[in-house]
């Protein structure tokens, strides 16, 4: 298992949200019982070098939460998540998970690149500035080196001519490609994509998918959450189907798409066939 | 308060509003009794009693006494105001009530012995008093103007200024009220500015001026006049001729 890049083992995750309280209750310090939703109910997933894992699942099934847990953007209740054989965000102490120092977590996170649905570009920086910033701030590269590297990665995603544009002057597809370049420039062992095209206008989806496809072909290890079935089928080396906080089916795309076993998988596939979007 | 001077024509007691900056020991409302007190205060009360007036008190910063009078906020300034030519251009003064001069207040450890020693020091006075003119001539390194005598005294106590010039009576009285080892009055000290105190009135209120002058003359003829001065630490030196 140690040669897995990602190893998710029996992970449980519960969200606790407080019920909306009335004005007076709050004023008097009364708290309602919290509402607890178990979003991941014991998830297991291994990703090895150069795999392209595509996660499918209907809305609310826990796909985003799983990705966020891998990157320690969420805490987990129980279970273990190893990246490159190391726990991220925790130390193990007498079989319990204990939070580790933030600076150590930060260092480990550079092994995992993440691309968000809403891009999350730094709004006060140009395209170039976005890619350079972590190289300088985190990797401590010199300005010149960071610049060379950033330009290289921006050219790779076809944005060599937009270096000095601020995010507001970029289309959605361009923004997402900057976000991909920014993550790639950090040379992570694995890239996580959370619905990278679902915030894009239909005509811009293609350019981003093309970039992701090229990265996959170069052998980058990737986990991708997407609703683009056609794309999933083309790119995935393995399909993982989630439902209600569990992985209910997984396998190579040619099998999942032609011979789905689980009801949920069938429902997902049939829905995508009738309506083109 | 403004136009009460005209009341009383129908025989009811006339109400006169006096303006004061409320500095002891000249004219102030006693914190415990609520009565108008002080040298000028008690003298005016005596005059008012004799003339059959009710008295109201209007408190404002010293430097706004004259604007307040001109703006009809009060009828008479009763606040140890020196009779000066500059002020006479704005308001009328009664006959002199008494005389007094300035005192020099310094921190306890100060070596200042006379006003000639204050050159190069940080000097202070109350905004609007005649002493602001004085300290401008003394060559201080800096001059600061405070809105009240209390603030001025506190500033000396705090070491924020090195010497303060203001009415000697105020300084003496404040040290009686709250003995303060951090400050001292320069003594002996001969006033540079022995001045004559009077009450101020609007130019047009000549009738009231005559009434007050008449009352004042009567008061001066009684022993009460000297008694009031002595009650607040002044004496025969301060009698006006």
């Amino acid at each position: 298992m140690a040669d897995n890049i990602i190893n998710v083992h029996e992970v449980h995750k519960t969200f606790v949200s407080e019920d909306k309280q009335s004005l007076w209750d709050r004023f008097r310090g009364r708290t309602h019982e919290a509402r607890r939703v178990e979003v991941l109910k014991g998830v297991n997933l291994q990703v090895t070098q150069s795999e392209t894992v595509v996660i499918l699942g209907s809305s609310g099934s826990g796909k985003s939460t799983l990705l966020r847990c891998i990157n320690k953007l969420e805490t987990i209740d129980s279970g273990r998540i190893y990246v490159h054989g190391h726990l991220v965000g925790y130390r193990e102490q007498n079989g319990e998970l204990v939070a580790e120092r933030a600076s150590i977590t930060a260092k480990k996170r550079t092994d995992v690149g993440m691309v968000f649905q809403h891009f999350n570009l730094f709004l006060n920086k140009t395209a170039l500035g976005n890619v350079m910033a972590p190289l300088r701030d985190v990797k401590k590269m010199s300005a010149a080196d960071a610049r060379t590297k950033a330009v290289h990665h921006l050219e790779m995603v076809g944005l060599g001519d937009k270096l000095d544009n601020y995010p507001t002057k970029l289309s959605g597809g361009q923004k997402q490609r900057v976000a991909i370049a920014r993550a790639l420039a950090m040379e992570p062992a694995v890239m996580l994509f959370d619905e990278p095209t679902s915030a894009l206008d239909p005509e811009l989806v293609g350019e981003v998918l093309a970039v992701i496809k090229r990265i996959a072909e170069e052998g980058t290890t990737m986990v991708i959450v997407t609703h683009e079935m056609q794309f999933a089928r083309e790119i995935a080396t393995r399909i993982v189907v989630m439902d209600q906080g569990l992985i209910v089916e997984e396998g190579p795309p040619e099998i999942i798409f032609t011979n789905p076993q689980h009801d949920k998988t069938r429902a997902l596939l049939s829905r995508s066939q009738t309506s083109p979007n | 308060a403004a136009d009460t001077t005209d009341a009383g024509a129908d025989g009811a007691a006339r109400t006169i509003t006096i303006a004061t900056s409320n500095d002891a020991p000249f004219s102030f409302t006693d914190a415990t009794t609520g009565e108008l007190s002080g040298i000028d205060g008690e003298m005016f009360l005596a005059i008012a009693e004799q003339q059959g007036w009710n008295v109201e008190v209007f408190v404002t910063d010293f430097n706004t006494l004259i604007p307040a009078l001109v703006a009809d906020k009060a009828d008479v300034i009763v606040d140890a105001m020196y009779i000066t030519d500059a002020r006479k251009e704005q308001i009328n003064f009664t006959d002199p009530w008494y005389m007094q001069g300035e005192g020099l207040l310094v921190p306890a450890g100060s070596t200042v012995e006379d006003r000639d020693d204050v050159a190069g020091l940080v000097l202070g006075a109350q905004t609007g008093t005649v002493f602001t003119d004085l300290i401008d001539t003394l060559g201080g390194s800096e001059t600061q103007y405070f809105d009240s005598q209390a603030a001025l005294i506190t500033a000396v106590e705090n070491g924020q200024i090195d010497a303060a010039f203001t009415d000697s009576a105020v300084l003496a009285y404040s040290l009686v009220q709250k003995p303060n080892p951090k400050i001292k009055l320069v003594s002996p000290y001969e006033a540079y500015f022995p001045g004559t105190i009077g009450a101020g009135l609007r130019m047009e209120d000549t009738e009231l001026l005559a009434d007050i002058n008449a009352g004042l003359a009567d008061l001066k003829a009684t022993p009460q006049y000297l008694e009031i001065l002595q009650k607040y630490g002044l004496g025969e030196d301060n009698l006006s001729e």
Partner: protein
């Protein structure tokens, strides 16, 4: 210990000034609300003249210190024959000053009410004026509640400035006490605490009102 008892001993004298403070704040707020709303209406009116007058008023008031405005009203206006007693002058000064700020609150609240509300009213046969008064302004008041409340708290504190125009409010009372007893520390500490006792509960109320208004939305 002596400090504490001395400080407590100051309170009774200062309490005497609280009614004046409340009178000032309440009177000035009323004036500010009325004048502020009128100014806001002038600023969004069709008339160029009204708009210019309103802008001029707001700019001049917001461009000069309240302290100067109070001095002006109290000492300068009498020279053109308008003599006003300290408390009314304080109410006038505070009221006019805050009217300028409240007019901006009202104006932006009125503009923040969706155009659809006015269009619906017009399509139902409201005149533009009636739509403004019956549909838009009531909704804008809800939006304005929080800012108005905060300005009221600021105003309670700004009553301290009326001490320079001879209003015997808390600070002036403290000054007077100080010039007789010279207990500077005790007196001003008590004054500060008294202001806190007035403004903190008000702040609480404003927060509650705001939440309430929002939850009704």
């Amino acid at each position: 210990m002596e400090f504490i008892t001395d400080t407590l001993a100051v309170f009774p004298a200062l309490f005497g000034a609280v009614p004046i403070v409340l009178q000032l704040a309440a009177g000035a707020m009323l004036l500010a609300l009325v004048l502020g709303l009128l100014t806001a209406l002038a600023r969004i009116s069709q008339s160029k003249v009204l708009r210019a007058v309103a802008v001029f008023f707001v700019e001049v008031i917001r461009g000069t210190p309240l302290l100067v405005q109070l001095v002006y009203i109290f000492f300068v206006l009498p020279s053109i024959g308008i003599a006003i007693d300290p408390v009314p002058a304080g109410i006038l000064g505070l009221g006019i000053n805050y009217a300028a700020y409240l007019s901006e609150v009202f104006r932006s609240a009125i503009l923040s009410v969706e155009a659809g509300q006015t269009e619906a009213a017009l399509s139902l046969g409201y005149t533009p004026t009636k739509a403004l008064w019956r549909v838009v302004i009531p909704q804008s008041f809800v939006v304005s509640l929080g800012p108005i409340g905060n300005y009221f708290i600021a105003m309670v504190k700004d009553t301290a400035l009326t001490s320079v125009i001879a209003v015997t409010e808390i600070l002036k009372t403290a000054n007077i006490l100080n010039s007789q007893t010279f207990q500077t520390t005790e007196i001003y500490t008590a004054a500060a605490i008294l202001y806190l006792m007035l403004s903190l509960p008000l702040a609480r109320i404003v927060v509650l009102m705001e939440r309430k208004a929002r939850s009704r939305g």
